[in-house]
């Protein structure tokens, strides 16, 4: 069904190496409008590097990254701004600016890229705080927030400009079950709004719950790209091993 929808993002045969360490060796996939893609794989398989490459924080060595028909992997830093507004990145650590408060963190993209008045910005931030269930916390500094709260504020900041794609980098990593649930339900709400996303995670239950399709990276290549249902029933030994090892961790 997703295949009928507009293709937002195409990743074509990308290669990336850090010195002799070949992280990606011909990774290709597409992301459709409104689709949630789970990106799984062991540690060090280049999941985060893939997200960083999509948004231009890392340069790929070979291949193409195409957003709505426009090739973006070769654009210089200053030409990437319009795409970084439409494709947002939610960092694993939240990456909040620690010298400014929650309100200023969430409002940062609005101050930078829109001509909204202060009152309009305040309204939008309040709306976003309500969505992430952190009303009344706008004056707190990032250091006053728990890890889960920081992640949610980071997600709110990534979401405030209404992007078309959100790249989540391990949003549930290191969180307790209650905070994980908060983050996952926030992602669910955003998905219901029609937002396409790529969700890098080790948290298989959350990926199965949220994603329309699951990709497994292994040794720089995609070894699985199918529905969560088929992922759970996969006979591929590496996928099975990955599922079982994740169960062991739980």
């Amino acid at each position: 069904m997703m295949m009928d929808k507009e293709v937002l993002l195409e990743v074509k045969n990308i290669h990336k190496a850090f010195g002799k360490n070949k992280v990606h060796q011909g990774v290709s996939f597409t992301l459709h409008k409104g689709e949630s893609l789970g990106l799984l794989g062991g540690s060090g398989t280049g999941k985060s590097v893939l997200l960083r490459s999509i948004i231009g924080l890392e340069r790929i060595d070979q291949g193409q990254i195409i957003f709505k028909g426009e090739r973006i992997d070769q654009l210089p830093e200053n030409k990437l701004t319009p795409y970084r507004i439409r494709i947002s990145y939610s960092f694993q650590s939240g990456a909040l600016f620690d010298s400014i408060n929650v309100f200023e963190n969430i409002a940062y993209p609005l101050f930078e890229h829109t001509k909204f008045s202060y009152a309009q910005i305040k309204d939008k931030v309040c709306e976003m705080l309500k969505l992430i269930d952190l009303q009344g916390k706008e004056d707190l500094m990032p250091s006053d927030l728990s890890g889960g709260m920081q992640k949610r504020v980071g997600m709110a900041r990534a979401m405030i400009l209404n992007p078309e794609i959100v790249l989540y980098d391990e949003p549930t990593a290191g969180l307790d079950p209650s905070n994980t649930l908060n983050v996952v339900s926030l992602m669910q709400k955003l998905k219901e709004k029609g937002l396409a996303s790529i969700f890098v995670t080790h948290d298989i239950p959350s990926a199965i719950m949220l994603c329309d399709r699951i990709i497994v990276l292994h040794e720089g290549k995609i070894i699985f790209n199918d529905t969560p249902h088929n992922f759970q029933n996969s006979e591929d030994p590496i996928v099975r091993k990955f599922i079982l090892s994740s169960k062991d961790e739980l």
Binding site: I55, F91, F97, Y108
Partner: protein
Amino acid sequence: MINAVINRFIKTGERARQFFIFVGEITSLFVETIKCSFSRPFYFSRLMEQINHIGYGSTSITVVIGLTMGLVMTLNFGYGLAKFGGTLYVPAVVSLSLAREMAPLFTSLLVAGRVGSGIAAEIGAMNVTQQVDAIRALGTSPVRVLVIPRFWALVISLPLLSALSFAVGILGGMLVCRMEFDIVPGFYLYKVFSTVKFHDYMSGLVKSSIFAGIITIFACYKGLNTKDGTKGVGVTTTWVVVTASILILITDFFISKIFLVIW
């Protein structure tokens, strides 16, 4: 034997390559800073914030260094020149040294320690906690957001701090002249203002601006390239203070030479 020579040659070549890359990146950051300074968006509030933090925040330490320089130099020149009956030349010598050399140089060295390390540590910490990546990911430029406000704040502030250091140094010298050598303040000030010409003041101010550029570009460059977590931040901070100080001293000689030729 031949292998050892080849290896040494390769290592030297690699070091030379790294050095040229470093020079290229520093130059590129400087050019980008200047280029972006004259195109939108402008961050005036951040500039003002940095002027307050970097400039106003350094006034007390500048007053201390200026006063100390004035007192010590006057005392030493006074006793030195007294041996040759040249006490009356003390105001001229002290004021000229302060205006052309000592005030800009010592203020810059002190600011390199205080502000250079602060900038490097702040940006370095932002880099290792992915805040610099977040600035880029949110469609903004770290050069515009972090480098330009700090660069211009110090380029504006350091000459003013040097001028303050000079003024306080002159006051310190006046105090010592009055108390130790019986030179009255009126004569002292007359000698100061008749000796130090416009180009002497300008020499000090221009030097300070160049030193400010060196401090901020090196501090920002190293901060933006900090790796290895908190350990990396410590290494960056030390590197910036040492490198900026050495470069200030070396540059000072060449600028002094150029100014002596043109003025």
